[in-house]
Point group: C2
Chain length 415, copies 2
């Protein structure tokens, strides 16, 4: 009987392996939204939920929700969960870990014959990565009542519309709005997820508490100078777009290093004409800036934009600054963060709060009520890659922390 | 009768237009080595050479050589010329201008019934750009006796070997070695060419004298760091290959600016994985360094290489420094440069010597004897582009300078 966390963690690791073998392609892991492969993963998890004493249902977008009732007369519900869809060539833990740890905690309650003063629901969301329709959070958007019917006309790479995909999957597109969850009985949402970064590993901590999910701005910056022969145009007569861009990239790094928690990344760069013997005439680069503090993010962007224009002016390079995407940060609910902190300390670990630079279903679930997240250390900070790795001992800590959190919440709240 | 330089310059401009219309593709100018199109251009020039009183022959690589005899008993020969092949989407002057100005000078001699104390040969080389077989100077290599028989097995983009192309063109591949020119009677080689850079325009000078052709080193530098999530890896834990490369690019520009005549260019850059939300794990860039002084070029490269390694060490980025190509500089013959200088001054212009950062047939012809080059101002320094443009007045100056050079050489040398 799987009572202790280490045994439960072994089960979680085994189940992550089982899910990791359920893929659309034989040589790598990929599970897109509304595919038979995702259905197979959902059905597998549904079996584990049932084994853990949960009543299982599916909604029309394809989310799987298992419910474990509270004590008789309990009126409130805590939502746990994460997603089962993946990126292409994914690791085994991004998403599934949060679902499996939640199921493990319920399993332990059931095996102990215990009920909490509130019900627990574990959601396995059908689309967080957005791989198939290039729009994230389809699953949690339905639960949060935020699903935009315009999404139904989106087309995947095979020419299949979202509405067709949903029907093939067995969902009723016209019933999506009715799948929105009532927030009246919700205590909140708590998601366990791998960190996808190297911070906890560097601090030698198995888990960390997410303070919030960073706001993000994404830009395309284009530098237009003058192409020319690499052998015949003297340095002082050049208007080299790549030299301007390089000066900017160096500055982006320097500015980001000046503020704790700020990350700024140039991940893409394209040079025209792009020949070894031709001075770059045009460069286009991407800029991604994130911070938990929206004010600091906006201030940084203003500073970088002004400096880009100043670099351009000094070098006679035309600079175009295009906004691709901007959204504000989400702060986790302090009362849930505090309970997670006490749960971490109860396991003998120090509290470390860290922002999440990546987006998660918790961002959407915040529409319904307070949210919290527990990060689990992952090896080398690697994610979205088959090398994604989590230690079984850290999973055991996550299970114990989540279990303690459930207990503390029952004492603090409930009924 | 086209006696004065301005009229001759008009003729040169008209002929450049005629040649500019002889192209393999209707919408842009391209004349590759050993094509019917190049044959048509060669035949057209052969007609003009004949009109100028020259005896015309073709060698087995496809070069066209027109000979205008000197006075009776003259034993020496001066070689003039340039090339008639082009890059793809070329301008009208890179190559043809040097051939046409040389023919114009001979035409003026013939119309005046004059012979010089030496013979003049004007070469229209069949391949300088190397567009078809990705190896430059096929034409002048044959004249210089440097043609490597291994070239015969090169294959173009259509799968045609060089030996097949030569045979279709009418050349005898087995006779290429015999086409090497004897250097015994050669006074030297003088090539008129557009500058392909902005220096003369900036100085408001119609022509400049080439001091030499810069040595060139070309490298591929690869930076290997660690890819990661742009939202989750803090700045201090990153090993961003693009930030390292950007620091290097900025340094390359700075170092090149410190030395007169030094040019250094990063023209290509590729980032892996290359997504806006992923920290660059690997960057590959090209580095092209040129200077007339081989020692300074080599010293600069040593400095840049050491600094690249130092950037890599500080940032924990693995740096690979690969040599693509290296060749030393060629100094023009001082006695010919001095004569060109006197010819320029005789036209009322100051002498301005400048290095050529681009390679030319003169580099190869230096195997046979002393070489010199006269650069003609081009608009905005643009070359290898349909916008390539030369002023008719500058062409007139070039004709007068070359004519004066021929006269001065006749007095200084000859017989």
């Amino acid at each position: 009987m799987a009572y202790d966390a280490m045994t439960l963690a072994d089960v979680v690791m085994e189940r992550a392996e089982i899910l990791g073998a359920i893929s659309e392609e034989p040589q790598l892991l990929v599970r897109r939204f509304a595919t038979p492969t995702l259905r197979q993963a959902m059905d597998t998890v549904a079996g584990w939920m049932s084994d853990a004493g949960m009543n299982v249902r599916r909604d029309n977008i394809g989310n799987l929700i298992g419910r474990y009732e509270g004590v008789l007369g309990a009126t409130k519900t805590l939502l746990l969960g994460s997603h089962l869809d993946t990126v292409r060539d994914a690791g085994k833990y991004d998403g599934p870990l949060g679902v499996l740890v939640a199921v493990a905690c319920v399993e332990r309650l059931q095996q102990a014959g215990r009920r909490l003063p509130y019900a627990i629901e574990v959601a396995a969301f059908a689309d967080e990565e957005g791989l198939r329709y290039h729009t994230a959070y389809l699953g949690s958007n339905v639960v949060a009542g935020r699903f935009d019917p315009a999404y139904l006309t989106l087309v995947d790479d095979d020419g299949i519309t979202l509405i067709e995909a949903l029907r093939s999957y067995g969902g009723d597109p016209s019933a999506l709005a009715a799948d929105a969850r009532d927030s009246a009985d919700l205590l909140g949402y708590c998601e366990v997820h791998i960190e996808q970064g190297p911070v906890l590993e560097a601090l030698d901590l198995p888990v960390g508490i997410v303070s919030g999910i960073a706001g993000q701005s994404r830009f395309t910056v284009t530098w237009r100078g003058m192409a020319g022969h690499a052998g015949t145009v003297p340095m002082r007569l050049r208007r080299d777009a790549l030299c301007a861009a390089a000066e900017f990239i160096t500055l982006v790094e320097q500015v980001a290093r000046e503020h704790a928690g700020l990350v700024a990344t140039v991940g893409q760069i394209a040079v025209q004409p792009g020949a070894s013997n031709v001075i770059p005439g045009q460069v286009t680069l991407s800029l991604d800036v994130r911070h938990l503090d929206d004010g600091l993010r906006e201030q940084t962007i203003g500073q970088l934009h002004a400096q880009a224009l100043s670099i351009g002016e000094r070098r006679q390079i035309d600079v175009t600054w295009g906004v691709v995407q901007e959204h504000g940060s989400l702060l986790c609910a302090r009362e849930l963060v505090a309970l997670l902190g006490r749960a971490v300390q109860a396991q003998g670990y120090p509290i470390h709060e860290l922002p999440s630079g990546a987006g998660h279903d918790a961002v959407v679930m915040a529409e319904l009520g307070p949210v919290a997240m527990l990060f689990v250390r992952c090896k080398d900070g690697v994610s979205h890659h088959p090398a994604e790795s989590v230690a079984v001992a850290d999973v055991a800590v996550a299970i114990d922390v989540l279990q303690e959190f459930l207990e503390l919440l029952g004492r603090a709240d409930g009924r």
